[in-house]
């Protein structure tokens, strides 16, 4: 039985308190959040220097570069923590696609109706399966596709001359920049939704609090 199967179903009981987020994950999460906010702010400043004056272009580029390296290093912290612990199950793909998408749409249904009617949330969490299907698919996409593509394209633009061969191989600097900006747009959208979805706990502050304490409080 997979951790996913062991905790799912309407008859399962949500534990009183669950220790969901270990210290390294919490550190990674908030460092990542800070890093992404800095990258988005400086990214806006670099791209729209004629519209914003938060800082000089030169400062924005230097801060963007340093924040980029910090977020890349932080990604490796996240990656090595999960790959070396049994919590990697949180990111395992569900091999039963039919069941996964059934639960996925059940989750959508919950967010669009059940949550307002006070229904019990369809996914009970435990440290090895803390993401509902919507979260899991989103985080898999963000952590394994969007983030690495953003890192690679950002790295290439950090030193164009150094990576010229690679840049030419993928179609030129305009292709690299366009992909980087598309990822930036996705992250802007993701962060806005992520911040809002974080408020959909028992109380608007519940999930935010969890990311500081590591404990998920019992739901009503």
């Amino acid at each position: 039985m997979t951790p996913s199967e062991s905790t799912q179903g309407p008859n399962r009981q949500q534990p009183e308190r669950v220790y969901l987020h270990a210290m390294p994950v919490r550190i990674w999460h908030w460092a990542n959040a800070l890093g992404f906010l800095v990258l988005i702010a400086t990214g806006f400043q670099i791209r729209y220097v004629d519209l914003f004056s938060l800082m000089s272009f030169e400062t924005a580029v230097h801060v963007h570069n340093w924040a980029g390296f910090a977020v890349i290093a932080n990604w490796f912290l996240w990656f090595f923590y999960y790959i070396s612990s049994d919590k990697i199950t949180n990111y395992h793909a569900d091999l039963d696609a039919g069941n996964f998408f059934k639960r996925y749409f059940h989750q959508i249904e919950y967010y669009s109706q059940g949550i307002f009617k006070g229904e019990k949330k369809p996914h009970d969490v435990n440290p090895h399966d803390k993401f509902n299907p919507m979260q899991k698919l989103t985080y898999q996409f963000v952590m394994f596709i969007t983030a690495p593509i953003t890192f690679f394209t950002g790295l290439m633009m950090w030193d164009v001359a150094r990576f010229q061969g690679l840049i030419n191989a993928v179609g030129g600097i305009r292709v690299v920049n366009t992909v980087h900006v598309l990822m930036f747009i996705l992250f802007v959208f993701f962060i806005l939704l992520h911040a809002y979805m974080g408020m959909l706990g028992p109380k608007p502050s519940s999930h935010y609090k969890e990311m500081f304490t590591g404990w998920e409080e019992p739901h009503d």
């Binding site: 670099i46 791209r47 729209y48 220097v49 004629d50 000089s56 272009f57 030169e58 580029v61 230097h62 570069n65 967010y111 669009s112 109706q113 949550i115 307002f116 009617k117 633009m157 950090w158 030193d159 164009v160 001359a161 150094r162 179609g171 030129g172 600097i173 305009r174 292709v175 690299v176 920049n177 366009t178 900006v181 598309l182 930036f184 747009i185 996705l186 802007v188 959208f189 962060i191 806005l192 939704l193 809002y196």
Partner: protein
């Protein structure tokens, strides 16, 4: 007939000169070797030869000038080898002054073979080859008979280059380099070796600016720490040094533009106008049918057309930020006056990005530009056609801006919609309960 009468006059002049004591000429021109005196007997007079193009060419040699010439030692027949005792080419027709000079261009190569070989690869020789009558040959720079030692060609006044490149020479004279030279190569109290024309462009193997990476390596040759100095503060310094001409920042008053040069990725060289095609202007004008500059679609078509027509070519556009004219390129200021503000170029409304050209190298290697619509930098099609040029701000793709607006609106609309949905559902529940 006129040639015949000129020849008779020449003979008469020689006869009259022959009657004068030769020693008096030798007294005045002791430096001139004795056999040359025989030539000068006639050629110090105002002799003229009628050319086939109707012009009259002076055959007079300024003896004083010839005496100071480094060629004095080889004498007249050193170059005029078709002249010997009893043999004089006076009856041979000469098509034009230019044709005669071109013939003697080959004469120079008999002794100055290496220099001549270097010249053969130059943009000047290429212009000559393509029939440009203003293109300089040996005698245009060195003169025919008053050939000076090399040390003379390092003057502040820019001779001989300045005789054709007058505007450039005037700009250079006011530049940090020109001022240093006129002040005895002193800059800020330090002794420097400020360059003259040949130090940057070479004396004989002068390349077209388009073929020489815009002389950036030449600047770095003397300014050895320039790369390191830029790396200290300039992000992507190596890329900037490659795609921004030195003068774009170091000639702060210069008008700038973005030039998209047609570049062959296979040959790693600028695309040259094909021998079988018309001029660059004709080629580009054929694409720009409405005559308002190349727009994004026309530019995309141009690239496709060249790549389709010529199988051994892989064309892309190499973008560069550069000064609009070559005069400004020589108006270099002291490094303390150089442009250092990134916003100068990275604003979307920055001046250089309002002025966009597409250029191709002419058959003689010189670059020729064609006006392009500035939208070629901001269109989604530019990802393909202008794939090798990107500058934050200036080349921002409008479509991505709209996608970002959509993401922001979507990111706000989803929570607002969700909250509104929640309120509506709760209201319905309450209504249903009642």
């Amino acid at each position: 007939m006129k040639t015949g009468s000129t020849f008779c006059a020449l003979l008469l002049a020689i006869a009259l000169l022959g009657m004068a004591p030769a020693v008096s000429m030798a007294d005045h021109h002791e430096e001139v070797s004795n056999p040359d005196l025989k030539c000068l007997k006639c050629h110090s007079k105002n002799l003229k030869k009628k050319l086939e193009d109707g012009e009259k060419m002076s055959l007079r040699i300024e003896v004083e000038e010839f005496e100071t010439s480094v060629h004095r030692v080889i004498g007249c027949t050193g170059c005029h080898r078709d002249v010997a005792k009893g043999k004089h080419p006076s009856k041979q027709p000469i098509a034009s002054r230019r044709a005669y000079s071109l013939k003697h261009n080959q004469t120079c190569s008999q002794c100055h073979e290496a220099v001549h070989d270097a010249y053969k690869g130059s943009v000047h020789a290429s212009m000559v080859e393509h029939g440009d009558v203003s293109a300089p040959i040996c005698s245009d720079c060195h003169s025919a008979h008053a050939i000076q030692p090399r040390t003379v060609y390092e003057p502040v006044n820019g001779e001989p280059c300045s005789s054709c490149h007058t505007d450039i020479n005037e700009a250079f004279a006011q530049s940090v380099h020109g001022l240093a030279r006129s002040e005895g190569n002193l800059l800020r109290g330090d002794h420097v070796k400020a360059p003259s024309c040949a130090d940057c462009h070479n004396a004989h193997d002068i390349s077209a600016v388009t073929d020489t990476q815009y002389l950036v390596p030449t600047c770095i040759n003397c300014h050895e720490v320039a790369e390191l100095a830029h790396e200290q503060w300039l992000p992507n310094a190596a890329m900037h040094l490659k795609s921004v001409g030195c003068a774009a920042c170091h000639s702060p008053q210069a008008e700038l533009r973005v030039d998209l040069q047609l570049y062959d990725r296979l040959k790693q060289a600028p695309v040259r106008q094909n021998e079988n095609n018309g001029t660059v202007q004709e080629t580009l004008a054929a694409i720009d049918t409405n005559g308002d500059g190349l727009d994004p679609i026309e530019l995309w078509k141009l690239i496709r057309q060249i790549n389709d027509q010529e199988p051994d070519i892989d064309v892309t556009l190499l973008g560069r930020l550069e000064v609009t004219n070559s005069v400004d390129a020589h108006r270099l200021a002291a490094s303390t006056e150089a442009v250092r503000s990134c916003e100068n170029c990275h604003r979307s409304d920055a001046e250089p990005f309002q002025n966009v050209t597409v250029s191709m190298s002419r058959k003689d290697g010189r670059k020729e530009s064609f006006k392009a619509d500035r939208r070629v930098l901001n269109s989604a099609m530019s990802v393909d056609s202008v794939g090798g040029f990107y500058a934050p701000g200036g080349t921002r793709i409008k479509l991505l801006d709209w996608l970002l607006v959509l993401a922001l609106l979507g990111g706000l609309a989803v929570p607002i919609g969700h909250i509104a949905l929640g309120k509506a559902l709760r209201k319905k529940q309450e209504t249903d309960k009642k």
